[in-house]
Amino acid sequence: MPSFDDVLNAFILLSNFVLLPALTYGAQLALGALAVTLVYSILRFANFSQANNMAFGTAMTILLTGFFQSQGWTISGFPTALLVVPLAIVITTICLLLTERWVYRYYRINNAKSITVVMVSIGVMFIMGGLVQLIMGPEQQIFADGARFIWTAREFKAFSGLSEGLALKTSQLTTILLALLAVGLVFYFLQKTKIGKAMRAFSDNEDLALLSGINPDKVVRTTWLLVAILTTIAGVLFGLDKGFSPFQYHLLLLPIFASVIVGGIGSPLGAIVGAFVISFSEMLLTYAYKKFFIYLLPTALEPDSLLQLIGTEYKYAVSFVILIIVLLVKPTGIFKGKVL
């Protein structure tokens, strides 16, 4: 029988290496997935350039962060990136509205097949990716400043007297708080404001929305604005947490799509739930449980292998496998999205 302290230690260990990171990563995915779902249900195409749009928003934030730092416009202890995010959102909004005006609008007005627009969005994806790499270069960049930890593992150990520590990074706390705020605002907007309701109406029944006098252009513009906000925040939070490199953002596309489909394509709540399903599965399946079980099992039964279900290299493969399973078992996703 493990002692109470051992159980506590095992739990703290798991929290530190799996639960907290999964929560953070899930929140970042959720914002991206929500953006994909909004585009999907209102503009009616799967936006393949989402991940690269996130990279773009982050790139703008990094440039602005550098500028602010060089001007000395910083608050000590506070990530400068968060200070400049509103500006980056403005730039990203402009950029997305330009793609809408120059690219997507034509297909929307001409009632193009959804798959054609998907193809177009892949063109946009490569242009955005090229633009970002042209500006930022391909290397990894760290742009988080201010305090790295709210509390470190050592501080936690000293405080609790346990042998395992639970560190809380600034990036983790900001991610969770900011994601909650952003998601809350988006839901409030969709449920309570007039234009938000118009967006839902438009997504539900486009013809009837037109018949109610809803201005489609305004709905579309508002959608891109929301998407820009979500996209930039998601990108910046991911970058603060893991550093910025264009390729890593590109890799996010698969988990984001998986989140959307797992949750039910077109359902905002589904996107969020899906994101956490993906992030927790990724983390839980790739974690090596050896130490965890050493705490819980009697010495005689202690495991000698790593007890890792899947190598960390296959982190992104997890989302694909979950995606396939959902398509096989319940193609509508958890929250009954649109299948056909």
Binding site: R200, A201, L208, L210
Partner: protein, 234 residues
């Protein structure tokens, strides 16, 4: 010249001609009914009047002004309202939100109109928080009708407003349509209840294969032998 007029309308889906020179019209304070066999193009006439489908020839006039180049949204702004035959609600929004969407272009207080709708269809008040997609077919039809009333239109276009509705509610809807007509609105309606509809209509248009087969007052059409034989089954 009537208040809302569609004159010599031609329209196609892709390359298939559907409307081939039909004309309809309705004045304020008047109820006009379009009848005809399935696939005659009745719904298509409605779409054309609202700008949901472009016309290749002919014109759509409102109060003497050509509106055939205006967008749907602009026509709604001019006082047209439409209850489509199918997909006429927002399924994932609540009944109250559906009605609210009807009042989207209004900036005044629409509580009075809302109360009117609720008194007319008490079931909607009861179910106002429920998702419209979860209602029965007849209840949806009431939501759709209520949504159109919320715009406070001057011209109301109804595509089979009574389809799937129980006889009592049909009577209510017809009574309400007559009330709207009394309130000096123009009402243009497609109906399958040909007999009942023509008997309360001021005007009737019998559409066959995209053309007017017969036109006249409701009474005249009801008494026309040919119309009786071909469309009223007896």
């Amino acid at each position: 010249m009537t208040y809302l007029t569609g004159k010599n309308l031609f329209a196609t889906y892709g390359t298939v001609p559907i409307l081939r020179g039909c004309s309809v019209g309705v004045n304020r304070g008047e109820l006009a009914v379009i009848v005809g066999p399935n696939g005659a193009g009745k719904s298509t006439v409605m779409k054309v009047l609202l700008g949901l489908l472009p016309i290749s020839e002919g014109e759509v006039l409102l109060d003497g002004k050509d509106i055939s180049t205006l967008s749907t949204q602009q026509r709604i702004g001019l006082g047209l309202a439409f209850v489509p035959q199918n997909n006429n609600i927002f399924p994932t929004m609540s009944v109250a939100e559906n009605l609210e969407m009807g009042a989207f272009l209004r900036h005044d207080d629409c509580q009075a109109t809302l109360d009117e709708v609720y008194t007319l269809f008490p079931i909607l008040f009861e179910k106002r928080q429920q998702l419209a997609g979860q209602l029965s077919g007849g209840q949806r039809q009431q939501v759709a009708f209520g949504r159109a009333m919320m715009t406070q239109p001057t011209v109301l276009l109804l595509d089979e407003p009574t389809a799937g509705v129980s006889p009592i509610v049909i009577d209510e809807i017809f009574a309400n349509i007559l009330a709207l007509k009394e309130a000096n609105k123009a009402v243009l309606m497609v109906e399958q209840n040909t007999q009942q509809a023509l008997s309360i209509a001021d005007k009737g248009f019998v559409l066959v294969a995209g053309k007017n087969a017969h036109t006249g007052t409701g009474k005249a059409l009801l008494n026309d032998d040919e119309v009786r034989r071909d469309f009223l089954g007896g």
